[in-house]
Symmetry: C2
């Protein structure tokens, strides 16, 4: 089939261990034979077989990434950060998509382990996984957007509570009176934390926390649309909405525009994430930025560190700061 180290050895009349040494820049080969070997390898179109190498060296220079969705621009940017950083460090990424399906995720994890990846980055499809699930992962791994409560593994995330706090505080400062929260999946840890920040800000400013102003639907445009409808037609005089993410915010803006609510005077809207499209002229969404690329980059770097430390690694948490981006949907 393809040319091997043995073929080169034979054609040059040397032993194949010498070829191996020469090709890997290892000491113990005379300059002359080394050059001959390298040249011959090139001439014969030799391509090292990484599987064979991995089998003996017990590492693959490959990292597995399991995320729910890559078409989603949030994960797109995070993944870009992961892959760029991996490449810079000589690692290649096996990318798996769970489509938010826990069973698919499990299968992917199994495959990655069988492929003997050097480490794994995982954004779980559901948030309420128990430690046993993670304990099966017998390689270094990091939870993407992990949560504080879990001490059984390392994670990287943005300070969601702080983000929620910043968003709500800003709305209060801009003079909005009845601030609602329009979230996505209720149980999602990121969601819960943002709600906490929201509540904290309200309390700190002497506002009453009204449970019916905290609503949940989907992390989608239509989810936002429905929530806006609910909130704006309730008896409370909602004049500002903090959306659980930017896509929800867009749904809210849609509802507002089609139902005569003037943004930002009559209704203030603030999002979360700062997706690429938030800054478009036609949208100009005020939002809390997550450093998405950095999130990916740091996650990979933390993982690399764990791979290096190997046995004596300890669980770490890395928490990134969110940032308020003021645009035109708040007054």
């Amino acid at each position: 089939m393809s040319v091997t180290i043995k073929d080169i050895a034979k054609s040059l009349g040397v032993s194949y261990s010498t070829v191996s040494r020469a090709l890997n820049n290892k000491p113990g080969v005379s300059k002359k034979t080394r050059e001959r070997i390298i040249e011959q390898a090139k001439k014969m179109g030799y391509q090292p077989n990484d599987m064979a190498r991995g089998l003996v060296k017990k590492r693959t220079k490959t990292i597995g990434v399991v995320i729910p969705d890559i078409a989603n621009s949030f994960f797109g940017e995070v993944t870009q950060g992961i892959i760029d950083t991996a490449n810079e460090n000589g690692y290649t990424i096996l990318l798996c998509i769970s489509n938010w399906d826990f069973d698919i995720e499990k299968k992917h994890l199994k495959t990655l382990l069988e492929k003997r990846v050097d480490g794994i980055i995982l954004k779980p499809a559901k948030d309420d996984v128990d430690e046993k699930y993670f304990s099966k992962i017998n390689v270094p791994f990091i939870l993407l957007e992990g949560w504080q409560g879990d001490k059984s593994c390392s994670y990287v995330k943005v300070d969601n509570e702080k983000g929620g706090y910043m968003a709500t505080k800003y709305l209060i400062e801009r003079g909005y009176q009845n601030i609602a929260y329009a979230g996505g999946k209720k149980e999602a840890h990121s969601n819960l934390e943002r709600v906490e920040g929201y509540i904290k800000a309200l309390k700190e400013h002497g506002r009453k926390v009204e449970r019916e102003l905290i609503r949940h639907n989907d992390f989608t445009v239509s989810g936002g649309y429905k929530l806006a409808e609910e909130l704006l037609n309730s008896h409370n005089k909602v004049d500002a909405i903090f959306a659980g993410n930017d896509v929800i915010a867009l749904g809210i803006l849609h509802y507002a525009a089609t139902h005569g609510y003037k943004v930002p005077d009559q209704l203030g809207v603030i999002g979360f994430d700062d997706i690429f499209y938030a800054e478009f002229h036609q949208i100009q969404l005020t939002t809390i930025r997550q450093p998405k690329y950095l999130l990916g980059k740091n996650t990979l770097e933390l993982l690399l560190q764990e791979i290096r430390d190997d046995e004596d690694r300890v669980n770490k948490a890395m928490i990134l700061e969110p940032k308020l981006i003021v645009r035109k949907t708040t007054r």
Copy 2:
């Protein structure tokens, strides 16, 4: 280290080929021993080593994908189609990002070959690559958004000329008189083909093709903004612009909105791609849709076919139909 087939064999007092057979559902093992083996494997937490298996079977069930950018939502959706389909067929994806850098791309290709992927999907960082470059790729591979001119390999793409034709024809039919083209990278094949469609439609309708109405900049928002500025301030009375892609169109809309051009009456705008955000209420871009998910799906399926046919495979081209999506930026 981790438990192997031999460990299981030893613990059960059978030969390890029997274990292999049992675990792989191969005939030639009594039901009883098979069950014992499977149970024991589970108990010991056995994880097959895919490298060892790949080494002997000479296939990895892994496919390499090299694209320029994954944060970009076009590639994001295409990649989602690729990965979903790969997973359905038991393949895993090694994803590499070239960042539009030809040298990085070359390095990725080399790595993928060394990892002995079963096939490769490639969207080249530049369009003017010669056949020799491709001839080095000694596994089945498909060019994503390939071009007609090249017969040295298989490719999948959307009929760009037809899309350009449809867009321009529609603008003509809606009564626009001076239709300009605002493109991205000039040399890009997809761009050239769209221009051809544009020209064809103009000619077919007895319109004059004016070279100064065909302009190029970047496939970005600011590229579109600049082109709009140029075109709308030229002596020609441009009343419609066909943008090389949706992002350019958004830049054009931005310029129009900030400089008092009424869309769609005073200025018609049509894009290309139909990115997720094109249909937002605040944008409502008329555009030519590329079936992005399908593009990825079909590319992978074609690749699988080539992997199956192996030696007696022939180069194929698959060309998908674009579709006109009418929204609010054309009258």
